[in-house]
């Protein structure tokens, strides 16, 4: 049985797709057979971030509507053979998704994969609620600013009440906080909420803090999940997140503004 993870946030532009790509790649590189599904029908992006946009033949909606089978639609990653991508359709909208259709796809994938990562669209409408409906775990991506935190809080309420687990009175979805685009420097001068501020408002388990990093943008543009850039802080932070999620004890990094001796000398 696969574990289904939804990467969600409520608010747009906080880094859901970057996170989905990074953790899916991270899990696969640790030897777990993983598939990452783009639920953002009509605004498909995951294929770009994963660098497989030129290999898309069939998509999620084709599979739901029976125009293709799941094997035809899955795209195998060229860098890691344990990783597959199921892209969204760009020409349809979210109405093409159905609870039964998604349920059937996840059921099929569940036999072949260990982890199913669902990249949720922004908002709390159909695409987002379907992406989280079947989830076992939720990675809630939040930026350290008030509107993002409030939207995450809203999403946590929906996770707790509108999921399959909630409807069947099963054990609730496990919620993990991913604080993205964190800059200790800006926290220090009061421009950004601190980790403590966000945790106090959301009161949930902190899975990791991803520092603000220029490498994220260039990686995305190049179609390389940031976790493959092992020199970047963000890439290392995502690797920590994956390790922590898999049960390893990894201390939190990138929360404080610590510079090495050279960094201090040269102000880097």
């Amino acid at each position: 049985m696969a574990r289904t993870i939804v990467v969600t946030s409520g608010k747009g532009g906080v880094g859901k797709t970057t996170t989905s790509a990074a953790i899916a790649m991270g899990l696969a590189r640790k030897g777990h057979r993983t598939v990452v599904i783009d639920f953002d029908v009509g605004l498909r992006n995951l294929d770009l971030v994963m660098g497989c946009e030129r290999r898309v033949v069939y998509d999620l909606v084709n599979v739901i509507q029976g125009e293709a089978n799941i094997r035809q639609a899955l795209i195998r990653d060229k860098r890691c053979e344990e990783l597959y991508v199921l892209p969204a359709s760009q020409t349809r909208d979210k109405e093409a998704l159905s609870k039964e259709g998604i349920g059937a796809i996840l059921e099929q994938l569940s036999g072949d994969f260990e982890y199913i990562v669902c990249d949720s669209p922004a908002g709390i409408e159909k695409g987002a609620t379907l992406a989280m409906y079947y989830a076992d775990d939720a990675f809630v991506v939040t930026n350290p600013e008030v509107s993002s935190v409030r939207d995450s809080d809203r999403m946590l309420g929906i996770l707790a009440s509108k999921s399959r687990r909630a409807e069947n009175n099963e054990e609730p979805i496990k919620e993990y906080l991913l604080l993205n685009r964190y800059s200790p420097k800006r926290v220090k001068v009061g421009e950004m909420l601190s980790v403590e501020d966000v945790q106090e408002i959301l009161s949930m388990h902190l899975l990791g803090v991803i520092p603000e990093s220029r490498s994220v943008l260039s990686s995305s543009n190049a179609g390389v999940p940031i976790i493959l850039d092992e020199d970047s802080n963000a890439g290392q932070a995502y690797a920590d997140v994956v390790a922590r999620y898999l049960g390893e004890e990894v201390p939190h990094r990138f929360i404080n503004d610590k510079k090495g001796l050279l960094g201090r000398l040269f102000g880097g």
């Binding site: 939207d151 809080d153 809203r154 946590l156 309420g157 707790a160 009440s161 106090e200 009161s203």
Partner: protein, 250 residues
Amino acid sequence: MSASQKENLAESPLIELKSSSFTLPILMLFGNDLAVIGEQLSRTVERAPDFFRNTPIVMDLSPLAAESQQVDFAGVVSLCRDLGMVPIGVRGGNTEHNRAAEALAMAILADRSAKRETAPPPKPAAPAEAAAKRDHAPPSAGNATRLITQPIRSGQRVHAEGGDLIVTAHVSAGAEIIADGHIHVYGTLRGRALAGAKGDTASRIFCNDLQAELIAIAGQYQVSENMDDSIRGLPVQVYLENLSLMIHPL
């Protein structure tokens, strides 16, 4: 008006059924002598004429029903009307009383004592319970306490109907908690809290850390902007005193 306009009108609702509870004065009738009733009633009204002007009133006939006494019902009703009251219904009467009330287009209100005619004698605990219930405005207030142990998130709405609400976690900004009775929040209260939602002015709000967007008791409310900074972030209780909202540190 075109046909489509008419259709639109038919679709947009002009009515809506809602339920609400009111506290009404009850006139207990212990005897059927119309002259004495009239005299005593006018003496009572003289003491507080403003209170009785156009006040809806319910007549409790249970003492009469208990002794199977008849009463000139139309007479009592017109006495009340002459004194400015608006009799709207009866409770606790026997079949004949009720028939007379119906003839005058008055409502027959349900009451425990009305059932006594047919039901077996109530258990010893029942009268005390009934009395306790009468002390509070919402008649259903009682043991319906609701306990919430998970955080109440932005956009969620929890309503403890007919009782108190206890939240052992925090209440986020953008969340709304409502109780017909008291509200207790043992975490931080950042959302809206409305106690005594059915008009019980004795309801209170208790919280461990007040950062609420809005607090209200029995419809008297205060928004965050008008709250005193000195009580923000403190454990407080909120209650009504002479219909104004009091916030005091605990």
